[in-house]
Amino acid sequence: MRAIYKRELDSYFHSMIGYVFIAFFLAFTGVYFMAYNLNYGYPIFSYVLSSLVFILLIAIPVLTMKSFSEDRKSRTDQLLLTAPVSLGQIVMGKYLAMETVYLIPSLVFCLYPLVIKMQGNAYLLTDYCGILMFFLMGCVFISIGMFLSSLTESQIIAAISSFGVLLVLYLWDGILGFLPSSALLNLIILLVLLSLVSVLVWHITGNLVIAGVLELFFLAAGIIVYAVDSSLYENLLPDVLGKLDLTAPLTDVVASSLLDTGSIILYLSVIGLFIFLTMQSIQKRRWS
């Protein structure tokens, strides 16, 4: 794993990507820092970070696009997959290399609260918690971008699809605002989603009976619960999906100095999920 990690990290700094990524990030940080903290005299650096999330949407795909698609295109995946290293080590080596590149601007961020402190009052704990959450959020985005890169041979497609997915996550809260709150509509949407699951089961197993029984079970369970207590469905989807809002933890730190361990667990779980999916997508290609 060390060999792969080292090679990946070197490749970011052999080409311009690593430097451009860091410079791009730090330049925008400087602009926002100057505007919010120096010009307006607002003493919390985390505020700058919440504006930087949008920059993250552009910068992360640039970092992740080549991670697996380039290997596939240049056939170097043959070297990695026939060497005595496990697939998990390959994926982790690449993932940690990207995280390391991303860690560099994050470490530079740690200096800004000190600059604020030199000028007067600073809220160091809030700021360092904010930097931690911002770093973890970026790691989640990197794992998503890495997964999308493992699906395609084209770096361009990997970058654009990563940007699209990250944009949806960024706008998540606003999108959820369009979901209805009434119990009946929530029931209907839920049943449609569960029916899609049944169709998926049918597609994967090819067994109509299992899928049919599953569908009937979903319908019966959904309707019975509705008949017993329809208030359970009120605001169900916005509530459940709202829990998956990946930018909310940073907003909590910035707006109310609140650090929730639940959100750290959410971040780590999403990272784990996408590392797993990356491995599965590579395995699938080997076996199909």
Binding site: R2, A3, I4, K6, R7, D10, S11, H14, S15, S74, R75, T76, D77, Q78, L79, L80, L81, T82, A83, P84, V85, S86, R286, W287, S288
Partner: protein, 276 residues
Amino acid sequence: MIEVRNLVKYYGDHMAVDHLNFTIQKGQIYGFLGPNGAGKSTTMNIMTGYLGATEGQILINGHDILAEPYKAKRDIGYLPEQPPLYMDMTVLEYLKFVAALKLIDKSIKSAQLDQVISLVRLEPVKNRLIKNLSKGYRQRVGLAGALIGFPEIIILDEPTVGLDPQQIIEIRQLIRGLAKDHTVILSSHILSEVREVCDHIMIIYQGKLVASDTPENLEQKMQGNETIELLVKGSPRGYFLDILQKRASSAPPGQHPDHSGGYFPGAHLFRVLPEQ
């Protein structure tokens, strides 16, 4: 050394490898011969653990490539059809990376790198970026990568494709030299190449193993199998039959002419067939 048992590979509905069975013994050069698309590369990719098989099993020194990939892969050096090179690295950086990837012990690493570089004659280009190298040198860098660690089994997929005649001769000599301590498997669609280099030829056609023997034995089997077809026009057929029969009696035993009648008006087709 290598055992391939009942190997089947489907790409969608297309059957690329069709129930392949063979065993490879130590210390010889094996040649996979077959036209393009016969399943040579697919077989090699499965043998090295790059692809999974639909059915069947591969044992490398008794280790299943899927169940014990670590132990199996350590014994294999593989040069795929397109050498897997990182264009942004220098030759030396690349070989160091491959050595680290193959978990070569640090104490012997630099000595081994020197040995491989001199063996493949990469000395003059070792500090150049791979993307600036010619095709021949890139092929050699790929070969050097496969040789690092000096694994017992070296698998080369069309190692001489795209090289000039001088380079082809060099690579062949190199492969011959390797056979002293290694088992080499190479693939090619050129008969003369395989015949010249290999101790044992395996002919693959449409995913099946159609012949497997030493070049001498294969030639022996093929000998006398030539058919000569004559299409003769104009004269009465008995006249030609007589001539052919006379010639056949002076020809090596085992050949006899066969008259198969006229396909064209006024023409007669004769075949000189082996006596089997």
